[in-house]
Amino acid sequence: MITIDDIMETNRMITENKLDVRTITMGISLRDCAHPNIKNFCENIYDKITKSAEFLVKTGEDIEAEYGIPIIHKRISVTPIAIAAEACDTDTFVPVAETLDKAGKAVGVNFIGGFSALVEKGYTRGDHTLISSIPQALASTDIVCSSINLASTKAGINMDAVREMGEVVKRTAELTRDQQAIGCAKLVVFANAPGDNPFMAGAFHGVSEADKVVSVGVSGPGVVKHALEGLRGKDFTEVAETIKRTAFKITRVGQLVAREASKRLGVPFGIIDLSLAPTPAVGDSVANVIEEMGLESCGAPGTTAALALLNDAVKKGGLMASSHVGGLSGAFIPVSEDKGMIDAVNRGSLSIEKLEAMTCVCSVGLDMIAIEGDTSAATISGIIADEAAIGMINNKTTAVRVIPVPGKKVGDMVEYGGLLGYCPIVPVQNKFSSDAFIARGGRIPAPIRSLTN
């Protein structure tokens, strides 16, 4: 029997500590839509997406109202377009991106992900076509998200793709320069990308998934911060236990929402992504959780250890609360989407180099970081290569979503609004060249999995 205290606690988490379900994401396979004529292919995918997700937004809104838990986004992920559209006789997939945009808007979702390619070992013709289409595709659409997986623990790092993606990021920034390079906020480069991730910009419907699935991404850094406020001065065993208990409660709500959504939509349940996903709102920050553990400012020595404990405890607590866990599960550390991270950059305590160290233990990687517009493509490729190496060696997902904002310098601020937030330009402190390193191309071989020192 639930008690009054239980009811008050749940409602306090929702109203004061900003507990929410970040997203219900429907994954839709487009493997049955292939056609040599791109016009027919686009018709096929439009029909499949709009039919499959017709009631997704309404269902999300109904669940939100009935249970009183905010569900912030409803999203769609699709089969990587480089695979689904490979048979099309065309040299550009921009019309495919525009069709995804149209289909997503028709059903009212916030984002549609899957303008993607998986090239960790090599390229096919479709992969080349997709990657060369990214800048124009992101400039001519609003809600389409793109991701490229270019490294894995099993395959190593595709350094040709690393070089190319540095240039693609720059070109995307240039084509969306009148919106502060927002195209780059919808583009992420991965190592070890999971095929069941409900979060953007990296969501795509993996090739081994069922025809349709519903997955849920939970959130709630504010709830964890509140729980830790009562533990000041206590040791880390208690900190870890409290985070586990809190993560369990948060995830149970995600599991309930996922089960209901799956039942009402008649689509199998995929996974719960056990995540602490911040927003720019006050009190919804992963950086503030780290600071609550006793650090004056996120980025101070000890930050990586604090994040490691947080990331691990969230997974341990959440695992028991859900029947299937997957995606990116862990603590996200985006800069522009987290007020505590933004404050830390502004007070000079967080640089891209410290963020890189933190990505060794966080759920993903360098995320939503605005950098100076004149940062070279080779430097961005160097940053991508470093992240990919961390992911490859440590058998974890890593990613880079940096935004070189044309005309902006350290000290300037860029604003994207909504969940994407706002961000001071983060300094890339090391100004030395990576040009000759990136120009080599080829592949970095897959790593040895023993002698782990």
Binding site: M8, T10, D62, Y67, G68, R252, V253
Partner: protein
């Protein structure tokens, strides 16, 4: 289906009467009530069964929200399952 109604706002005469009146009109059976006044603020948590009700949860929410607005109260109506999910295994 069991629902949880939480009411918060400045205390005044007749809050319980009005809310329970709405529930009775819609054939919603009250199972438990917990209420107190803190610093002049009215707090109430009410659990009720609506399996015999002729209205849907969404309609009851709309009716009670409207009643809350009239009385200057915040009235929240939720499916009980969210609390069970979070607090019991």
């Amino acid at each position: 289906m069991k629902i949880v109604v939480t009411i918060v706002g400045k205390d005044r005469v007749g809050i319980i009467a009005k809310v329970s009146g709405v529930l009775a009109e819609n054939n919603v059976n009250i199972l438990s009530v917990n209420q107190n006044i803190m610093d002049g603020f009215f707090n109430m948590v009410l659990i009720a069964e609506m399996q015999d009700s002729q209205v849907k949860l969404k309609e009851l929410q709309d009716i009670l929200h409207k009643k809350g607005d009239e009385m200057g109260l915040e009235i929240k109506v939720q499916h009980q399952e969210i609390f069970n999910a979070m607090h019991s295994i």
